[in-house]
Amino acid sequence: MTTGTRTTERVPVVRCVGLTKFFGGVCGLADVSLDLFAGEIVGLVGENGAGKSTLTKILSGVHSPDRGELWFGSERVGSLTPHRARMLGVETVYQTLELCDNRSAPANIVLGQEPVRFSVGPLKFVDRKAAARIAAERLSSFGTALPDSDVAVRRLSGGQRQAIAIARAMMRGNRLMTFDEPTAALGIRQKRATWDLIRRVASEGVAVLLISHNVDEVLELAGRIVALRLGRLTLDARTEAVTRDEVEAHMSGLAR
Protein backbone atom coordinates (compact mmCIF):
# COMPACT_ATOMS: atom_id res chain seq x y z
CA MET A 1 0.00 0.00 0.00
CA THR A 2 1.02 3.57 0.06
CA THR A 3 3.61 4.69 2.53
CA GLY A 4 2.29 6.62 5.45
CA THR A 5 5.37 8.12 7.05
CA ARG A 6 6.69 11.45 5.99
CA THR A 7 10.40 10.99 6.47
CA THR A 8 12.28 14.03 5.35
CA GLU A 9 15.43 11.92 5.01
CA ARG A 10 13.98 9.86 2.15
CA VAL A 11 15.66 10.43 -1.17
CA PRO A 12 13.08 10.68 -3.91
CA VAL A 13 13.63 8.16 -6.69
CA VAL A 14 12.55 10.85 -9.11
CA ARG A 15 12.80 14.58 -8.49
CA CYS A 16 11.55 17.25 -10.85
CA VAL A 17 12.72 20.79 -10.26
CA GLY A 18 11.15 23.66 -12.11
CA LEU A 19 10.27 21.74 -15.25
CA THR A 20 9.08 23.97 -18.04
CA LYS A 21 8.11 22.93 -21.54
CA PHE A 22 6.72 24.91 -24.42
CA PHE A 23 5.23 23.59 -27.62
CA GLY A 24 5.55 26.41 -30.03
CA GLY A 25 3.79 29.21 -28.25
CA VAL A 26 1.73 26.92 -26.05
CA CYS A 27 2.84 26.29 -22.51
CA GLY A 28 2.83 22.59 -21.69
CA LEU A 29 4.43 22.78 -18.28
CA ALA A 30 5.38 25.78 -16.21
CA ASP A 31 7.82 25.51 -13.35
CA VAL A 32 6.67 22.13 -12.09
CA SER A 33 8.52 20.66 -9.13
CA LEU A 34 7.59 17.25 -7.83
CA ASP A 35 9.17 14.46 -5.81
CA LEU A 36 8.28 10.82 -6.24
CA PHE A 37 9.20 8.24 -3.62
CA ALA A 38 9.63 4.49 -3.78
CA GLY A 39 6.54 2.51 -2.98
CA GLU A 40 4.29 5.54 -3.01
CA ILE A 41 1.31 5.95 -5.30
CA VAL A 42 0.94 9.52 -6.43
CA GLY A 43 -2.24 10.47 -8.18
CA LEU A 44 -1.82 13.01 -10.95
CA VAL A 45 -5.03 14.78 -11.83
CA GLY A 46 -5.91 17.58 -14.16
CA GLU A 47 -8.16 18.54 -16.99
CA ASN A 48 -7.30 17.75 -20.59
CA GLY A 49 -4.36 19.77 -21.68
CA ALA A 50 -3.27 20.45 -18.11
CA GLY A 51 0.15 18.97 -18.75
CA LYS A 52 -0.19 15.46 -17.35
CA SER A 53 1.01 13.72 -20.44
CA THR A 54 3.73 16.32 -20.99
CA LEU A 55 5.09 15.62 -17.55
CA THR A 56 4.95 11.88 -18.14
CA LYS A 57 6.72 12.20 -21.44
CA ILE A 58 9.48 14.26 -19.89
CA LEU A 59 9.90 11.63 -17.19
CA SER A 60 10.06 8.88 -19.79
CA GLY A 61 12.48 10.71 -22.03
CA VAL A 62 10.17 11.40 -24.94
CA HIS A 63 10.34 15.17 -24.45
CA SER A 64 13.14 17.20 -23.01
CA PRO A 65 12.24 20.15 -20.80
CA ASP A 66 13.08 23.65 -21.94
CA ARG A 67 13.99 24.58 -18.39
CA GLY A 68 14.37 22.77 -15.12
CA GLU A 69 16.14 19.75 -13.74
CA LEU A 70 15.41 16.09 -13.52
CA TRP A 71 17.01 13.90 -10.88
CA PHE A 72 16.88 10.11 -10.58
CA GLY A 73 17.94 9.36 -7.03
CA SER A 74 21.00 11.44 -6.35
CA GLU A 75 22.02 11.72 -9.99
CA ARG A 76 21.10 14.64 -12.18
CA VAL A 77 19.72 13.40 -15.47
CA GLY A 78 20.28 15.49 -18.55
CA SER A 79 19.27 14.69 -22.14
CA LEU A 80 17.12 11.72 -21.28
CA THR A 81 16.01 9.47 -24.13
CA PRO A 82 13.23 6.87 -23.99
CA HIS A 83 15.89 4.20 -24.14
CA ARG A 84 17.90 5.66 -21.29
CA ALA A 85 14.81 6.27 -19.21
CA ARG A 86 13.88 2.66 -19.60
CA MET A 87 17.37 1.57 -18.61
CA LEU A 88 17.02 3.75 -15.52
CA GLY A 89 13.83 1.98 -14.57
CA VAL A 90 11.09 4.26 -15.88
CA GLU A 91 8.17 2.60 -17.61
CA THR A 92 4.70 3.64 -18.64
CA VAL A 93 1.56 1.62 -19.11
CA TYR A 94 -0.79 3.28 -21.55
CA GLN A 95 -4.53 3.09 -21.70
CA THR A 96 -4.30 1.38 -25.06
CA LEU A 97 -1.75 -1.02 -23.58
CA GLU A 98 0.34 -0.83 -26.78
CA LEU A 99 0.82 -4.55 -27.20
CA CYS A 100 1.93 -6.30 -30.36
CA ASP A 101 -1.29 -8.08 -31.22
CA ASN A 102 0.38 -10.52 -33.56
CA ARG A 103 2.78 -11.79 -30.91
CA SER A 104 2.34 -14.09 -27.94
CA ALA A 105 2.29 -13.05 -24.30
CA PRO A 106 5.88 -14.13 -23.59
CA ALA A 107 7.04 -12.36 -26.76
CA ASN A 108 5.35 -9.16 -25.65
CA ILE A 109 6.61 -9.33 -22.10
CA VAL A 110 10.26 -9.83 -23.03
CA LEU A 111 10.19 -7.57 -26.07
CA GLY A 112 13.41 -5.61 -26.23
CA GLN A 113 15.09 -7.74 -23.59
CA GLU A 114 14.66 -11.26 -24.85
CA PRO A 115 16.51 -13.96 -22.88
CA VAL A 116 19.33 -15.29 -25.02
CA ARG A 117 20.27 -18.93 -25.34
CA PHE A 118 23.49 -18.27 -27.21
CA SER A 119 25.00 -15.79 -29.59
CA VAL A 120 26.71 -16.18 -32.91
CA GLY A 121 28.40 -12.91 -33.66
CA PRO A 122 25.71 -10.22 -33.75
CA LEU A 123 22.90 -12.78 -33.80
CA LYS A 124 21.27 -13.61 -30.51
CA PHE A 125 19.14 -16.73 -30.40
CA VAL A 126 16.11 -16.33 -28.19
CA ASP A 127 15.57 -18.69 -25.30
CA ARG A 128 11.87 -19.27 -25.78
CA LYS A 129 11.54 -21.59 -22.80
CA ALA A 130 13.04 -18.96 -20.52
CA ALA A 131 10.75 -16.33 -21.98
CA ALA A 132 7.72 -18.50 -21.38
CA ARG A 133 8.87 -19.16 -17.85
CA ILE A 134 9.40 -15.46 -17.11
CA ALA A 135 5.99 -14.67 -18.52
CA ALA A 136 4.30 -17.39 -16.51
CA GLU A 137 5.99 -16.26 -13.30
CA ARG A 138 5.06 -12.63 -13.68
CA LEU A 139 1.55 -13.31 -14.78
CA SER A 140 0.90 -15.76 -12.00
CA SER A 141 2.05 -13.16 -9.47
CA PHE A 142 -0.80 -11.11 -10.91
CA GLY A 143 -3.17 -13.99 -10.55
CA THR A 144 -3.37 -14.46 -14.28
CA ALA A 145 -2.64 -17.72 -16.02
CA LEU A 146 -2.53 -18.45 -19.70
CA PRO A 147 -3.50 -21.96 -20.77
CA ASP A 148 -1.64 -21.53 -24.04
CA SER A 149 1.31 -19.18 -23.96
CA ASP A 150 1.86 -19.27 -27.70
CA VAL A 151 -1.41 -17.69 -28.69
CA ALA A 152 -1.34 -14.19 -30.15
CA VAL A 153 -2.45 -11.64 -27.57
CA ARG A 154 -5.15 -10.34 -29.84
CA ARG A 155 -7.09 -13.44 -28.85
CA LEU A 156 -6.83 -12.78 -25.14
CA SER A 157 -9.27 -11.05 -22.86
CA GLY A 158 -8.91 -7.44 -21.81
CA GLY A 159 -7.91 -8.43 -18.31
CA GLN A 160 -5.21 -10.76 -19.56
CA ARG A 161 -3.93 -8.13 -21.96
CA GLN A 162 -3.70 -5.59 -19.16
CA ALA A 163 -1.78 -8.02 -16.98
CA ILE A 164 0.58 -8.65 -19.88
CA ALA A 165 1.12 -4.93 -20.44
CA ILE A 166 1.88 -4.38 -16.76
CA ALA A 167 4.08 -7.47 -16.62
CA ARG A 168 6.06 -6.11 -19.55
CA ALA A 169 6.46 -2.74 -17.90
CA MET A 170 7.58 -4.35 -14.68
CA MET A 171 10.44 -6.09 -16.41
CA ARG A 172 12.40 -2.89 -16.29
CA GLY A 173 10.15 -0.49 -14.45
CA ASN A 174 11.77 -0.71 -11.07
CA ARG A 175 12.09 2.99 -10.39
CA LEU A 176 8.95 4.66 -11.67
CA MET A 177 5.84 3.21 -13.24
CA THR A 178 3.33 5.56 -14.72
CA PHE A 179 -0.19 4.34 -15.32
CA ASP A 180 -1.94 6.52 -17.82
CA GLU A 181 -5.72 6.26 -17.38
CA PRO A 182 -5.52 2.54 -16.56
CA THR A 183 -9.20 1.95 -15.95
CA ALA A 184 -10.83 4.57 -18.10
CA ALA A 185 -12.85 2.09 -20.11
CA LEU A 186 -13.16 -0.74 -17.63
CA GLY A 187 -16.08 -2.00 -15.65
CA ILE A 188 -16.19 -2.15 -11.88
CA ARG A 189 -14.81 -5.61 -11.44
CA GLN A 190 -11.92 -5.01 -13.80
CA LYS A 191 -11.23 -1.65 -12.18
CA ARG A 192 -10.76 -3.34 -8.83
CA ALA A 193 -8.54 -6.00 -10.36
CA THR A 194 -6.40 -3.32 -11.95
CA TRP A 195 -6.23 -1.40 -8.66
CA ASP A 196 -4.89 -4.54 -7.00
CA LEU A 197 -2.23 -4.81 -9.67
CA ILE A 198 -1.24 -1.19 -9.16
CA ARG A 199 -1.01 -1.63 -5.41
CA ARG A 200 1.08 -4.74 -5.95
CA VAL A 201 3.48 -2.80 -8.14
CA ALA A 202 3.86 -0.13 -5.46
CA SER A 203 4.39 -2.76 -2.79
CA GLU A 204 7.44 -3.93 -4.70
CA GLY A 205 9.06 -0.60 -4.00
CA VAL A 206 8.33 1.07 -7.29
CA ALA A 207 7.25 4.70 -7.34
CA VAL A 208 3.86 4.83 -9.01
CA LEU A 209 2.42 7.78 -10.83
CA LEU A 210 -1.25 7.31 -11.47
CA ILE A 211 -2.78 9.57 -14.07
CA SER A 212 -6.50 9.55 -13.92
CA HIS A 213 -9.43 11.82 -14.56
CA ASN A 214 -11.39 9.67 -12.15
CA VAL A 215 -11.02 11.48 -8.83
CA ASP A 216 -12.58 8.60 -6.89
CA GLU A 217 -9.96 6.26 -8.21
CA VAL A 218 -7.21 8.62 -7.20
CA LEU A 219 -8.64 9.10 -3.74
CA GLU A 220 -8.89 5.33 -3.41
CA LEU A 221 -5.40 4.41 -4.52
CA ALA A 222 -3.08 7.32 -4.00
CA GLY A 223 -1.25 8.33 -0.86
CA ARG A 224 -0.58 11.74 -2.35
CA ILE A 225 -2.46 13.81 -4.88
CA VAL A 226 -0.90 16.22 -7.32
CA ALA A 227 -2.99 18.47 -9.55
CA LEU A 228 -1.95 20.26 -12.70
CA ARG A 229 -3.81 23.11 -14.27
CA LEU A 230 -2.69 24.83 -17.46
CA GLY A 231 0.81 23.53 -16.97
CA ARG A 232 1.16 24.59 -13.37
CA LEU A 233 1.19 22.52 -10.23
CA THR A 234 -1.73 23.65 -8.13
CA LEU A 235 -1.88 20.94 -5.50
CA ASP A 236 0.55 18.55 -3.85
CA ALA A 237 -0.92 17.11 -0.72
CA ARG A 238 -1.48 13.87 1.10
CA THR A 239 -4.77 12.25 0.27
CA GLU A 240 -6.07 12.34 3.80
CA ALA A 241 -5.43 16.07 3.95
CA VAL A 242 -7.74 17.03 1.08
CA THR A 243 -11.36 16.64 0.26
CA ARG A 244 -12.83 15.61 -3.03
CA ASP A 245 -14.11 19.11 -3.66
CA GLU A 246 -10.73 20.62 -3.03
CA VAL A 247 -9.12 18.27 -5.53
CA GLU A 248 -11.65 19.14 -8.18
CA ALA A 249 -11.30 22.80 -7.46
CA HIS A 250 -7.57 22.64 -7.97
CA MET A 251 -8.07 20.76 -11.22
CA SER A 252 -10.54 23.16 -12.66
CA GLY A 253 -9.50 26.36 -11.04
CA LEU A 254 -13.01 27.13 -9.97
CA ALA A 255 -13.22 29.11 -6.82
CA ARG A 256 -15.26 27.42 -4.10
Binding site: D101, N102, R103, V126, G159, L186, G187
Partner: protein, 341 residues
Amino acid sequence: MHLIFAIGVIFVVLAFRDSNYFEIDNLRVVLLNSSSVAIASVGMAYLMVAGGIDLSIGSIFVAAGFAAGDLSLHTSPVIAVLGGLALAGGLGLVNGLLVWRIRVSPIIVTLGTLTLIEGVVTVVSKGAGVYGFPGGFLSIGQATPLGVPTEIWLMIAFAVVAAIILATTTIGAHIYALGGNREASELAGVRVRRLTLGLFVFAGLAAGLAGIITSARFGVADISFGVDFNLNVITATILGGVAFSGGEGTVGGVMLAVIFLNVVSSGLIASGVNPYYSDVITGAALVVSVGLEQLTHERNDRIRREVALAEMLAAGGSDETAAPVGKSSRSFAALSPWRDR
Protein backbone atom coordinates in the same frame (compact mmCIF):
# COMPACT_ATOMS: atom_id res chain seq x y z
CA MET B 1 0.13 -24.68 -45.29
CA HIS B 2 -2.34 -24.54 -48.06
CA LEU B 3 0.44 -23.83 -50.53
CA ILE B 4 1.96 -27.26 -50.14
CA PHE B 5 -1.43 -28.66 -50.95
CA ALA B 6 -1.76 -26.41 -53.97
CA ILE B 7 1.66 -27.35 -55.26
CA GLY B 8 0.80 -30.99 -54.80
CA VAL B 9 -2.40 -30.56 -56.77
CA ILE B 10 -0.65 -28.79 -59.61
CA PHE B 11 2.03 -31.49 -59.75
CA VAL B 12 -0.60 -34.18 -60.01
CA VAL B 13 -2.50 -32.33 -62.70
CA LEU B 14 0.64 -31.73 -64.70
CA ALA B 15 1.81 -35.28 -64.30
CA PHE B 16 -1.45 -36.32 -65.87
CA ARG B 17 -0.99 -34.10 -68.85
CA ASP B 18 2.69 -34.64 -69.41
CA SER B 19 4.47 -37.47 -67.71
CA ASN B 20 7.80 -36.01 -68.74
CA TYR B 21 7.32 -33.10 -66.37
CA PHE B 22 8.96 -34.78 -63.46
CA GLU B 23 12.30 -35.22 -65.11
CA ILE B 24 15.12 -33.82 -63.04
CA ASP B 25 15.98 -31.46 -65.84
CA ASN B 26 12.59 -29.84 -65.72
CA LEU B 27 12.66 -29.48 -61.98
CA ARG B 28 16.09 -27.97 -62.22
CA VAL B 29 14.79 -25.39 -64.64
CA VAL B 30 11.89 -24.62 -62.36
CA LEU B 31 14.21 -24.09 -59.43
CA LEU B 32 16.62 -22.08 -61.51
CA ASN B 33 13.92 -19.76 -62.74
CA SER B 34 12.72 -19.42 -59.21
CA SER B 35 16.03 -18.61 -57.66
CA SER B 36 16.39 -14.93 -58.46
CA VAL B 37 12.81 -14.22 -57.47
CA ALA B 38 13.30 -16.37 -54.39
CA ILE B 39 16.40 -14.53 -53.23
CA ALA B 40 14.81 -11.14 -53.71
CA SER B 41 11.60 -12.35 -52.06
CA VAL B 42 13.48 -13.22 -48.90
CA GLY B 43 14.68 -9.65 -48.63
CA MET B 44 11.24 -8.32 -49.41
CA ALA B 45 9.65 -10.68 -46.90
CA TYR B 46 11.88 -9.39 -44.12
CA LEU B 47 10.91 -5.83 -44.96
CA MET B 48 7.22 -6.55 -45.30
CA VAL B 49 6.97 -8.54 -42.08
CA ALA B 50 8.25 -5.42 -40.37
CA GLY B 51 5.50 -3.45 -42.01
CA GLY B 52 7.46 -1.88 -44.83
CA ILE B 53 7.64 -2.39 -48.55
CA ASP B 54 9.96 -1.49 -51.39
CA LEU B 55 8.51 -1.25 -54.86
CA SER B 56 11.80 -0.23 -56.41
CA ILE B 57 13.52 -3.59 -56.08
CA GLY B 58 12.80 -4.31 -59.73
CA SER B 59 15.02 -1.38 -60.65
CA ILE B 60 17.62 -2.28 -58.03
CA PHE B 61 17.68 -5.77 -59.54
CA VAL B 62 18.45 -4.32 -62.95
CA ALA B 63 20.84 -1.64 -61.73
CA ALA B 64 22.96 -4.09 -59.75
CA GLY B 65 23.06 -6.51 -62.66
CA PHE B 66 24.18 -3.70 -64.93
CA ALA B 67 26.75 -2.37 -62.53
CA ALA B 68 28.26 -5.77 -61.83
CA GLY B 69 28.26 -6.72 -65.48
CA ASP B 70 29.83 -3.48 -66.54
CA LEU B 71 32.42 -3.66 -63.78
CA SER B 72 33.31 -7.20 -64.79
CA LEU B 73 34.45 -5.85 -68.13
CA HIS B 74 36.99 -3.66 -66.38
CA THR B 75 37.90 -5.40 -63.14
CA SER B 76 37.92 -8.77 -61.47
CA PRO B 77 34.69 -10.65 -60.88
CA VAL B 78 35.01 -10.20 -57.15
CA ILE B 79 35.13 -6.43 -57.44
CA ALA B 80 32.29 -6.57 -59.93
CA VAL B 81 30.08 -8.47 -57.52
CA LEU B 82 31.02 -6.29 -54.58
CA GLY B 83 30.38 -3.19 -56.65
CA GLY B 84 26.97 -4.41 -57.68
CA LEU B 85 26.10 -5.29 -54.11
CA ALA B 86 27.34 -1.96 -52.82
CA LEU B 87 25.13 -0.17 -55.31
CA ALA B 88 22.14 -2.32 -54.38
CA GLY B 89 22.67 -1.79 -50.68
CA GLY B 90 23.18 1.90 -51.23
CA LEU B 91 19.96 2.20 -53.18
CA GLY B 92 18.16 0.30 -50.44
CA LEU B 93 19.59 2.71 -47.90
CA VAL B 94 18.41 5.67 -49.94
CA ASN B 95 14.94 4.17 -49.97
CA GLY B 96 15.05 3.63 -46.25
CA LEU B 97 16.22 7.16 -45.53
CA LEU B 98 13.56 8.63 -47.77
CA VAL B 99 10.84 6.55 -46.15
CA TRP B 100 12.10 7.44 -42.71
CA ARG B 101 12.58 11.11 -43.30
CA ILE B 102 9.66 11.80 -45.59
CA ARG B 103 6.95 10.29 -43.53
CA VAL B 104 4.94 9.38 -46.58
CA SER B 105 3.84 5.83 -47.28
CA PRO B 106 6.71 3.62 -48.44
CA ILE B 107 4.57 2.63 -51.39
CA ILE B 108 4.63 6.13 -52.77
CA VAL B 109 8.26 6.78 -51.99
CA THR B 110 9.54 3.55 -53.49
CA LEU B 111 7.27 3.88 -56.47
CA GLY B 112 9.14 7.08 -57.11
CA THR B 113 12.56 5.52 -56.70
CA LEU B 114 11.50 2.63 -58.91
CA THR B 115 11.04 5.02 -61.80
CA LEU B 116 13.99 7.15 -60.83
CA ILE B 117 16.47 4.30 -60.74
CA GLU B 118 15.13 2.82 -63.92
CA GLY B 119 15.52 6.16 -65.60
CA VAL B 120 19.09 6.55 -64.46
CA VAL B 121 19.99 3.07 -65.65
CA THR B 122 18.43 3.78 -69.04
CA VAL B 123 20.34 7.03 -69.38
CA VAL B 124 23.65 5.53 -68.32
CA SER B 125 23.27 2.47 -70.51
CA LYS B 126 21.87 4.50 -73.37
CA GLY B 127 19.13 1.92 -73.62
CA ALA B 128 21.49 -0.83 -74.67
CA GLY B 129 22.28 -4.01 -72.83
CA VAL B 130 25.69 -4.93 -71.48
CA TYR B 131 27.28 -8.19 -72.44
CA GLY B 132 30.50 -9.96 -73.16
CA PHE B 133 31.34 -10.62 -69.55
CA PRO B 134 34.57 -12.48 -68.83
CA GLY B 135 34.45 -16.14 -67.89
CA GLY B 136 35.27 -15.47 -64.27
CA PHE B 137 32.14 -13.41 -63.84
CA LEU B 138 30.00 -15.74 -65.91
CA SER B 139 30.99 -18.69 -63.79
CA ILE B 140 29.16 -17.13 -60.87
CA GLY B 141 25.92 -17.72 -62.62
CA GLN B 142 26.83 -20.65 -64.77
CA ALA B 143 29.08 -22.86 -62.69
CA THR B 144 27.57 -26.02 -61.32
CA PRO B 145 29.42 -27.17 -58.22
CA LEU B 146 28.37 -30.75 -57.54
CA GLY B 147 26.15 -30.58 -60.59
CA VAL B 148 23.87 -27.97 -59.08
CA PRO B 149 23.93 -24.40 -60.40
CA THR B 150 25.41 -21.76 -58.09
CA GLU B 151 22.13 -19.90 -58.05
CA ILE B 152 20.32 -22.79 -56.50
CA TRP B 153 22.98 -23.24 -53.83
CA LEU B 154 22.76 -19.58 -53.05
CA MET B 155 19.01 -19.62 -52.96
CA ILE B 156 18.91 -22.55 -50.58
CA ALA B 157 21.63 -21.22 -48.30
CA PHE B 158 20.15 -17.74 -48.26
CA ALA B 159 16.65 -18.99 -47.56
CA VAL B 160 17.69 -21.40 -44.83
CA VAL B 161 19.81 -18.84 -42.97
CA ALA B 162 17.19 -16.15 -43.38
CA ALA B 163 14.43 -18.44 -42.15
CA ILE B 164 16.40 -19.40 -39.05
CA ILE B 165 17.28 -15.81 -38.23
CA LEU B 166 13.74 -14.58 -38.62
CA ALA B 167 12.28 -17.38 -36.54
CA THR B 168 14.73 -17.74 -33.70
CA THR B 169 16.76 -14.61 -33.09
CA THR B 170 16.09 -11.35 -31.32
CA ILE B 171 16.32 -9.52 -34.62
CA GLY B 172 13.55 -11.73 -35.98
CA ALA B 173 11.45 -11.12 -32.88
CA HIS B 174 11.94 -7.39 -33.28
CA ILE B 175 10.99 -7.52 -36.94
CA TYR B 176 7.71 -9.24 -36.12
CA ALA B 177 7.10 -6.81 -33.26
CA LEU B 178 7.79 -3.84 -35.50
CA GLY B 179 5.24 -5.11 -37.95
CA GLY B 180 2.74 -5.73 -35.20
CA ASN B 181 2.96 -2.43 -33.36
CA ARG B 182 5.61 0.08 -34.18
CA GLU B 183 5.01 2.33 -31.17
CA ALA B 184 5.11 -0.58 -28.77
CA SER B 185 8.36 -1.76 -30.29
CA GLU B 186 9.91 1.64 -29.93
CA LEU B 187 8.68 1.93 -26.36
CA ALA B 188 10.07 -1.51 -25.60
CA GLY B 189 13.51 -0.44 -26.68
CA VAL B 190 13.70 -1.86 -30.19
CA ARG B 191 15.97 0.37 -32.27
CA VAL B 192 13.29 1.10 -34.78
CA ARG B 193 15.26 3.51 -36.95
CA ARG B 194 18.27 1.26 -37.18
CA LEU B 195 16.15 -1.80 -37.88
CA THR B 196 14.06 -0.04 -40.53
CA LEU B 197 17.06 1.24 -42.42
CA GLY B 198 18.76 -2.13 -42.12
CA LEU B 199 15.75 -3.87 -43.58
CA PHE B 200 15.61 -1.56 -46.57
CA VAL B 201 19.31 -2.17 -47.15
CA PHE B 202 18.76 -5.92 -46.84
CA ALA B 203 15.89 -5.88 -49.32
CA GLY B 204 18.06 -3.92 -51.73
CA LEU B 205 20.98 -6.30 -51.27
CA ALA B 206 18.79 -9.32 -51.88
CA ALA B 207 17.39 -7.81 -55.06
CA GLY B 208 20.88 -6.80 -56.10
CA LEU B 209 22.26 -10.27 -55.49
CA ALA B 210 19.49 -11.71 -57.62
CA GLY B 211 20.28 -9.21 -60.35
CA ILE B 212 24.00 -9.94 -60.32
CA ILE B 213 23.46 -13.67 -60.53
CA THR B 214 20.97 -13.24 -63.34
CA SER B 215 23.42 -11.11 -65.31
CA ALA B 216 26.12 -13.70 -64.79
CA ARG B 217 23.87 -16.55 -65.76
CA PHE B 218 22.56 -15.03 -68.95
CA GLY B 219 25.77 -13.24 -69.83
CA VAL B 220 23.74 -10.12 -70.48
CA ALA B 221 22.31 -7.27 -68.44
CA ASP B 222 19.24 -5.64 -69.84
CA ILE B 223 16.57 -3.35 -68.51
CA SER B 224 13.82 -5.63 -69.66
CA PHE B 225 14.83 -8.19 -67.03
CA GLY B 226 13.29 -6.07 -64.35
CA VAL B 227 9.89 -5.70 -65.92
CA ASP B 228 8.04 -8.54 -64.26
CA PHE B 229 10.41 -8.89 -61.37
CA ASN B 230 8.63 -6.53 -58.99
CA LEU B 231 5.30 -8.15 -59.50
CA ASN B 232 6.67 -11.67 -59.18
CA VAL B 233 8.49 -10.87 -55.97
CA ILE B 234 5.60 -9.12 -54.31
CA THR B 235 3.12 -11.74 -55.44
CA ALA B 236 5.31 -14.52 -54.12
CA THR B 237 5.82 -12.73 -50.82
CA ILE B 238 2.14 -12.11 -50.21
CA LEU B 239 1.06 -15.49 -51.50
CA GLY B 240 3.62 -16.96 -49.16
CA GLY B 241 1.74 -15.61 -46.18
CA VAL B 242 3.44 -12.29 -45.51
CA ALA B 243 0.73 -9.84 -44.61
CA PHE B 244 0.78 -6.54 -46.44
CA SER B 245 0.24 -4.80 -43.14
CA GLY B 246 3.10 -6.61 -41.49
CA GLY B 247 3.59 -8.83 -38.50
CA GLU B 248 2.90 -12.13 -40.21
CA GLY B 249 4.72 -14.45 -42.57
CA THR B 250 7.62 -16.87 -42.82
CA VAL B 251 10.52 -17.38 -45.21
CA GLY B 252 9.41 -20.96 -45.76
CA GLY B 253 5.99 -19.83 -46.85
CA VAL B 254 7.51 -17.39 -49.30
CA MET B 255 9.79 -20.07 -50.76
CA LEU B 256 6.84 -22.34 -51.30
CA ALA B 257 4.98 -19.54 -53.00
CA VAL B 258 7.89 -18.85 -55.34
CA ILE B 259 8.06 -22.48 -56.30
CA PHE B 260 4.31 -22.67 -56.65
CA LEU B 261 4.16 -19.72 -59.00
CA ASN B 262 6.98 -21.13 -61.05
CA VAL B 263 5.50 -24.60 -61.16
CA VAL B 264 2.29 -23.10 -62.40
CA SER B 265 3.82 -20.96 -65.11
CA SER B 266 6.33 -23.52 -66.33
CA GLY B 267 3.76 -26.24 -66.12
CA LEU B 268 1.41 -24.23 -68.24
CA ILE B 269 4.13 -23.60 -70.79
CA ALA B 270 5.12 -27.26 -70.81
CA SER B 271 1.52 -28.19 -71.47
CA GLY B 272 1.48 -25.96 -74.45
CA VAL B 273 -0.84 -23.39 -72.89
CA ASN B 274 -0.46 -19.80 -73.99
CA PRO B 275 2.34 -18.42 -71.78
CA TYR B 276 0.37 -15.26 -71.11
CA TYR B 277 -1.98 -17.32 -69.05
CA SER B 278 0.75 -17.53 -66.48
CA ASP B 279 0.43 -13.77 -66.10
CA VAL B 280 -3.26 -14.26 -65.52
CA ILE B 281 -2.53 -16.82 -62.85
CA THR B 282 0.08 -14.66 -61.17
CA GLY B 283 -2.18 -11.66 -61.14
CA ALA B 284 -5.11 -13.68 -59.89
CA ALA B 285 -2.95 -15.19 -57.18
CA LEU B 286 -2.03 -11.73 -55.97
CA VAL B 287 -5.61 -10.53 -55.89
CA VAL B 288 -6.79 -13.67 -54.16
CA SER B 289 -4.09 -13.60 -51.52
CA VAL B 290 -4.63 -9.93 -50.71
CA GLY B 291 -8.33 -10.68 -50.51
CA LEU B 292 -7.68 -13.59 -48.18
CA GLU B 293 -5.55 -11.37 -46.02
CA GLN B 294 -8.31 -8.81 -45.71
CA LEU B 295 -10.72 -11.56 -44.78
CA THR B 296 -8.27 -12.67 -42.12
CA HIS B 297 -8.18 -9.13 -40.76
CA GLU B 298 -11.93 -9.10 -40.55
CA ARG B 299 -11.88 -12.48 -38.90
CA ASN B 300 -9.39 -11.19 -36.34
CA ASP B 301 -11.63 -8.23 -35.66
CA ARG B 302 -14.53 -10.58 -35.20
CA ILE B 303 -12.49 -12.69 -32.80
CA ARG B 304 -11.67 -9.62 -30.79
CA ARG B 305 -15.29 -8.58 -30.69
CA GLU B 306 -16.34 -12.03 -29.61
CA VAL B 307 -13.74 -12.14 -26.89
CA ALA B 308 -14.84 -8.76 -25.61
CA LEU B 309 -18.47 -9.78 -25.76
CA ALA B 310 -17.80 -13.02 -23.95
CA GLU B 311 -15.97 -11.11 -21.27
CA MET B 312 -18.84 -8.76 -20.86
CA LEU B 313 -21.36 -11.54 -20.58
CA ALA B 314 -19.20 -13.56 -18.23
CA ALA B 315 -18.83 -10.59 -15.94
CA GLY B 316 -22.58 -10.28 -16.14
CA GLY B 317 -24.55 -7.09 -15.82
CA SER B 318 -24.78 -3.81 -17.57
CA ASP B 319 -22.31 -2.04 -15.36
CA GLU B 320 -19.53 -4.01 -17.02
CA THR B 321 -18.16 -2.74 -20.26
CA ALA B 322 -15.68 -4.71 -22.27
CA ALA B 323 -12.08 -3.67 -21.88
CA PRO B 324 -10.59 -1.86 -24.82
CA VAL B 325 -8.66 -4.45 -26.76
CA GLY B 326 -6.16 -2.01 -28.04
CA LYS B 327 -5.50 -0.64 -31.47
CA SER B 328 -5.19 -3.10 -34.29
CA SER B 329 -1.78 -3.67 -35.74
CA ARG B 330 -0.14 -0.57 -37.04
CA SER B 331 2.67 -0.31 -39.48
CA PHE B 332 4.46 2.30 -41.41
CA ALA B 333 3.22 0.84 -44.70
CA ALA B 334 0.09 2.88 -44.23
CA LEU B 335 -1.84 1.57 -47.16
CA SER B 336 -5.54 0.97 -47.63
CA PRO B 337 -6.79 4.20 -46.14
CA TRP B 338 -10.31 2.89 -46.50
CA ARG B 339 -9.57 -0.17 -44.42
CA ASP B 340 -10.73 0.08 -40.84
CA ARG B 341 -7.76 -0.54 -38.60
